[in-house]
Amino acid sequence: MMQDLANAAIETAKRRGASYADVRVMDVRHRDISTKNGQVGTLAEAESLGIGIRVIAGGAWGFSSTDRLTSEGVQACAAEAVAIAKASALAKRENVSLAPEPTHVDTWQNPFLKDPFRIPVEQQIDLLLAADKEMRRVKGVTVAEGSMSFRRIEQLFASSAGSSIHQIKMQSGAGIVATSFEGTEIQKRSYPNSFGGQHMLRGYELIEEMDLVGNAGRIAEQCVALHSAAQCPEGQQSIILDSSQLGLQIHESVGHPIELDRVLGMEANFAGMSFLTTEKLRKLKYGSDIVNVVADARLEHGPGLGTFAYDDEGVPAQCTPIITNGLFTGYLSSRETASSIGEKRSGGTMRCESWNRLPMIRMTNISINPGTWKYEDLIADTDDAILMETNRSWSIDDKRYHFQFSTEIGWEIKGGKRGRMIKNPSYSGITTEFWNSCDAICSRNYWTLWGTPNCGKGQPQQVMGTGHGASPARFRNIKVGVAFAK
């Protein structure tokens, strides 16, 4: 049925004057569960099926989408896409040009062991409530929360050039949070990560491996203990970031600035632009010599939220070196943006949130390669630092230079040993100065491919999942504590 709809849309678009058309038919299924203080909060399932049609006509882009999947509905949608393209041509400066891409006919599905939609919902609720109970056993916890979310995305990409690509992606995620109010302070601790936990392109086996119940008491105790912990000092000093915080640091200060649409000004009104202007490619010393970052959408990188076989304009998944031994070596690109900077081929990073959204350049899995350090050796090698774990807030300017992060918890490192707990840890800096101060990265044994399910970009805004592999790393001479400075 998906192929018939796609064919009808493409034929109509061509007949109406499109020189190129591509279509995404997507059938998306969701399940969302949340609990709070021993009760079920959200309990919902949703499905959404529709078609998005993108065309070039008169040398300009048009896009329309509909969930009215009758023959008339799809034809009207395709005709509207062409009419919109012709309106776009009113303000055209030059014809759209696309980097060449062979046609592909393929099917793909990410591997998983347990279909989360076949696991009884009461079993999923029981797990969250068991973790909830463990958190609330700890005196001082005022709110205990847990959540799970599952997505099954079936999609067909078809183009007027002859591509037809059928993909099914299964995505799972979960997390728990303890919150404590005391005096004039609200503290929280999350597991395995904040803002929804960990999410991957996997089945329910991911949730079972997390051991939410086994970790609930620990984070609840830390949450309450934070009230009496020492305040993060202000000043310049070494910091060690845990892998989840380093994953978000990569997202904000590497992943976004390498988006070629930002670089070329296409996002100037909302998401912003980038300090990584095109003359810096293969010239800028982005980080220290040990910093190596890739954009890798291939399954062999891991089942991340940025993993797929083909992107949403029919380009196969690739691995692009972004930072190589500290040197800036690559952008995230699309067929149009690759063409505009003279690259021979798209890097394959175009993705859309659902059938009703236009594909745009999105991070795939932007990961830092593991280093050589054992975690224990890194701590032992550090005289004076703050170890910061689990993101609490994040902010960066619209060219991705100046950032500030705070984490849920910190630990003083003194004389090679982990010491007292630190509350309200924060650090700030300038992107390239920060990455050039990296002097140690832990090995593959400590590397985790984190999922960020909530990355917003575009107008109308699209929320997309991205992947970030990272292991703990040390940075020297970093400004800390500024978030709470008076």
């Binding site: 949340s34 079920v40 909060g41 309990l43 919902a44 399932e45 949703a46 499905e47 959404s48 099926l49 529709g50 300009a60 882009w61 048009g62 896009f63 329309s64 989408s65 509909t66 969930d67 009215r68 009207a76 009419a83 919109i84 309106a87 776009s88 009113l90 303000a91 400066r93 009884p120 919902v121 609720i125 409530l129 005022t142 709110v143 929360e145 109010f181 004039t184 609200i186 000004g265 296409m266 996002e267 009104n269 909302f270 912003g272 009703n356 236009l358 609490r392 902010s395 300017d397 619209d398 100046h402 500030q404 309200n424 700030s428 300038i430 107008q459 109308p460 500024v482 978030a483 709470f484």
Partner: protein, 450 residues
């Protein structure tokens, strides 16, 4: 361009709703059906680079079984899909523990009429938007500047019905124009939205953004610190928007509101009074909440003292208060929130604020704001697209953008002057009616490179 879902009249949406109610074997059933058409023309580098339209339908069913409730949604209208969505809601509802806070569905209600649908907006075509964008791009060309932005328009209609006889309907249109004007080392921005597209003056907004870009050329770097700061309505909106959930009864009950232990006590300056008022002429949104409770006008802050919270039905029962019509769709764990904040303004013009400032900062737009401390309400973020130095009562040029770490509570205690409240559009918050403000000792903590 014809609206593909425009043919879905209220009567047709209601027919789907009635069909769902008939199909449901649940003890109680609530259904929401909505149809929308949205279009957005996006431009950058003085040309249109994205131009999109969307037509969608949503059917959302909540079933109540034995003191338990759950929701299932679909956009498919065939008989089998409608049966399946009802069955999903019932199955999900059954397979969970009983919810002691769950209340029976509401019966029939009376709603105050609001008029937020404008044909001129609904009938806007891609050509209309492209022509307006072309004029703005030509203006930028003329000034040797680069324009980027969006021009969006759309319409939506929705009905709510339940098995206890409640019936509600709402329709609205929306339009928005946002523009960033870039020069080599500076930029300016302006944004406005309205249910009535005729109220958007796209060229005036572009001229305003162009003037900010020209006026902030070659920005100087000045040291971070505490400055008297004049915030545009958009900048005020994006800061005070972070307060909205603090006024939820659930947030206070959970002790994660900055108002925990502070209700009835002086928290802000005398010149701060805030209402939630869905019926204000500059506001938008339906006159009922996620359960169909009529929205009430609520005085949240009076002369700096937080007075009242908003409540869903379940939260109101738990906290021995009355529901205010601010609940979210059930089931959820957040309860409610005021979504139509209206600040009382003042009578000072921005020119007067500048004229009376010896040394200060004028802010056009804020960006990437995040909460650092939820109880003291410290927020961090950046300035963007037109940050100016004021010296001796006049704007003397652009400055490099700052990072701020500022408590909103402290900020609202330090307001020296207020302008008239307007419908403001920002990036971090939904639209509210807020004034421009002149604030003492606003804390800029660091400076960026541009």
């Amino acid at each position: 361009m014809a609206n593909q879902n425009a043919h879905l009249s209220f009567a047709e949406l209601e027919r789907i709703a009635e069909k769902i109610l008939k199909l449901s074997a649940a003890e109680e059933t609530e259904v929401d059906v909505s149809a929308s058409t949205d279009a957005l023309t996006r431009f950058a580098n003085n040309t249109i680079h994205q131009n999109v339209a969307e037509h969608s339908l949503g059917i959302s069913v909540r079933a109540v079984v034995n003191g338990r409730t759950a929701r299932a949604s679909t956009n498919k209208t065939d008989e089998e899909s409608l049966r399946r969505v009802v069955a999903s809601a019932v199955t999900l509802a059954r397979n969970q523990p009983e919810n002691p806070d769950l209340l029976p569905l509401l019966g029939k209600q009376k709603y105050q009429k609001v008029s937020r649908f404008f044909s001129a907006t609904a009938e806007t075509s891609p050509q209309d938007r492209a022509k307006a964008v072309t004029r703005v791009c030509k203006l930028a060309d003329k000034h040797k500047q680069t324009a980027a932005g969006i021009f969006a328009s759309g319409s939506a209609s929705s009905v709510m019905a339940n098995s206890k006889g409640l019936r509600a309907r709402y329709e609205n249109t929306h339009s928005e124009f946002s523009v960033t004007i870039l020069e080599e080392n500076s930029s300016g921005w302006a944004k406005s939205n309205s249910p009535d597209i005729r109220k958007l003056d796209t060229e005036e907004l572009a001229e305003r953004a162009a003037a900010a870009a020209a006026g902030s050329r070659a920005p100087r770097e000045i040291p971070a610190g505490r400055y008297t700061t004049i915030l545009s309505p958009s900048a005020v909106l994006d800061l005070v928007g972070f307060l909205f959930y603090d006024f939820a009864g659930t947030a206070v009950h959970d002790k994660r509101s900055c108002l925990t232990g502070r209700l009835g006590k002086k928290l802000f300056g005398d010149n701060i009074t805030i209402w939630d008022d869905a019926y204000h002429p500059l506001q938008s949104g339906a006159p009922y909440d996620g359960e169909g409770v009529p929205r009430q006008k609520v005085l949240l802050v009076e002369r700096g003292v937080p007075k009242n919270l908003v409540y869903s039905r379940a939260t109101a029962k738990k906290m021995k208060a009355k529901p205010t019509g601010h609940g979210f769709l059930l089931p959820n764990e957040y309860g409610e929130a005021p979504m139509n904040l209206v600040f009382s303004g003042g009578d000072k013009s921005t020119d007067e604020m500048i004229r009376t400032t010896e040394r200060g900062i004028l802010v056009t737009r804020l960006w990437y704001i995040r909460e650092v401390d939820p109880y003291e309400k410290i927020l961090t973020g950046m300035t963007r697209d037109g940050t100016f130095l004021i010296e001796n009562g006049r704007v003397t040029g652009g400055v490099r953008n700052f990072r701020f770490n500022q408590s909103v509570i402290e900020m609202l205690s330090n307001v020296d002057m207020l302008g008239p409240a307007v419908r403001a559009a920002g990036e971090e918050s939904f639209e509210m009616v807020v004034p421009p403000m002149k604030v003492r000792d606003f804390h800029f903590s660091e400076v960026t490179k541009f």
